[in-house]
Amino acid sequence: MYLKLAWRNIWRNKRRTLITVSSIMFAVVFALFLESLEKGAHDVMIENMTRFHTGYIQVQDYRFEDEPSLDNAFYYDDSFSVRVRDFELVEYTIPRIETFMLAAGAEVTRGAFVMGIDVDREDQLNNLKDRLTEGKFFEPGDGTAVISEGLASRLNLAVGDSLVLLGQGRFGMTASGLYEISGLLRHPTREMNNQLVYLSLPDAQWLLSADDHITALLVTPSRSRNIEPVAEQLRTDFKDEELAVFTWREMIPELVEALEFDRAQSRLMMGILYVVIGFGIFGTILTMTLERMREFGILLSVGMQRIKLAFVVFIETFFITILGVLAGFVLGLFPILYFHFNPIVLGGNMEELVAEWGIEPVMPTALSPEIFIWQGMMVFILTTIICFYPTIKILTLKILDASKA
């Protein structure tokens, strides 16, 4: 009957209830959208960085971090790959050999970032094959290269043309090679799109005099939450070897700091938003409480315990909050879904800014249940705190004064 009392009290003043529910609903929608947009933007940054640059975890020679040179590449063969892949929570591994070289067409020479890769395994991480805009990917050891569109444009090259790579291989060996361009791809980040050359892993190892060596083995855990446990397992296993294990957070701390800074700003914004929402809800609860002082007095005088009365009022506020939060979830889902599949494309200065970071100039919303849970919880906690007001009022109410109200 207490629930019935609470539920009917809510609808006693429909307009007031609808106003409160609406204010909570719009607050939830706004908070959800902001949080989702922020998380979406962060996810793009992390995805760009991890999928196309660092991977989630890297195994390197322990000297490579201080001196990223081919001299600090490490021995790699199938048995090593199998050994790492056999770790619990590891889904797959990707070998890479990377270095900077000069890339030349018929007339122009530019600096290029050369990556020796296993296309199929790379594709697992970043759908690289889908990035191909022209031609096809190479077969291992077939002597062809795939280059990014930006570099092709700078070198004035197209599919079928020849590309010269010139640089330094392992232990100071001269590295030079002539490759037919088998395909062009569009890298999502502008910086990489202007300098990327992909070779097959065997071709790159041969070019760089680094047979059976790679500069990094990317390790992808089964779930993103397993990054730390997998890295820890690998560190334990490699402790007697000259290998080091890094997570993406350790490899790109500047990104982590930027994200933290951005998150702190968002928290501040959210804080202000919650204060505004809180005062809105408080205003309604305050009015509702003052309007009902007489009723509270009567209920206490006929024998209802204060704590039970406070409970009924709490249940009322709880119902209103739940209605507002659920309505907010439903309404908030539409813009979140829309912008998830149709991300906001940044233009102008913003595009320039994020391009400098090597990040795609898009802002999708994130579809993450934790956003809904978190925002729902926040509004719920807020309402619960606000509910202390009527509770305190009821607990300290003077029955006679209230009955005369």
Binding site: L5, N9, G303, Q305, L400
Partner: protein, 246 residues
């Protein structure tokens, strides 16, 4: 034996600024089954006296005992429980729970007493029927007339099987027919179930029906009169004097 005893009750409002003596040294006893009105001009202390007896207000001096239990000085929680199980209230403005039906309003008190569901149902139906509201079980207060609402309020007050009922100006908002009807119901309950009623009122119709009339002036008992014989409509009063306690 008296079920209610007030001993030297005094109440002073605003003692530090402009003191108002709402009650002055009031000592009374009420027997089970009495049908009593407390009358007097506005500000004479009628409502204050009822509030003291109901444990809604605290005296500056003196005490109230109900069936041997001193309620003055009880803790808030104990007092609320005591009221729930021993005292029924009927207010001038009915004060029903607006979102509950007549039936639910009556049952609610028993729910607070944690009575069995079947007992709640039986008692609520019995009381509402006795109050002539058998067709109004599912009506909410705003669907009822003032008289009907007050009868629901009386049924609610009786639902908890209290030792007595305090009714503060119960007929003040009612037309003559409704007031007479309500008084009939309460008198019936008094006679048939020996329920003790104490009214505060200005209403001569109530005073005429009462078997004991206490008159208050300036917070003190001016007269305490009993009718003899105690029958409906008899207006002859047998004066017993200020200090006559039964």
């Amino acid at each position: 034996m008296a079920i209610i005893t007030t001993q030297n009750l005094s109440k002073i409002y605003n003692p530090d600024t402009i003191p108002v003596h709402a009650l002055r040294d009031v000592s009374l006893e009420f027997e089970e089954g009495e049908f009593t009105t407390v009358r007097g001009p506005s500000g004479s202390g009628k409502t204050t006296l009822l509030n003291m007896i109901g444990g809604l207000d605290i005296p500056n001096e003196g005490f109230v005992e109900i069936d041997g239990t001193r309620i003055t000085g009880m803790k808030d929680r104990e007092l609320i429980n005591f009221r729930l199980n021993n005292i029924g209230f009927v207010f001038q403005a009915y004060n029903l729970i607006p979102v509950f039906t007549a039936y639910e309003n009556v049952s609610f008190i028993m729910l607070l007493q944690k009575r069995e569901k079947s007992e709640m149902k039986e008692r609520a139906e019995e009381l509402l029927t006795a109050m002539g509201l058998s067709k109004k079980f599912d009506s909410r207060p705003k669907q009822l007339s003032g008289g009907e609402q007050q009868r629901v309020a009386v049924a609610r007050a009786l639902a908890s099987r209290p030792k007595f009922i305090l009714a503060d100006e119960p007929t003040a908002n009612l037309d003559t027919d409704s007031a007479m009807n309500l008084l009939d119901m309460m008198e019936k309950m008094n006679k048939e179930e020996n329920v003790t009623f104490i009214f505060s009122t200005h209403d001569q119709r109530v005073i005429d029906r009462a078997r004991r009339v206490i008159t208050m002036v300036d917070g003190a008992i001016d007269k305490d009169e009993r009718k003899s014989p105690p029958s409906k409509g008899e207006s002859e009063l047998s004066e017993q004097g200020d200090d006559s306690l039964s």
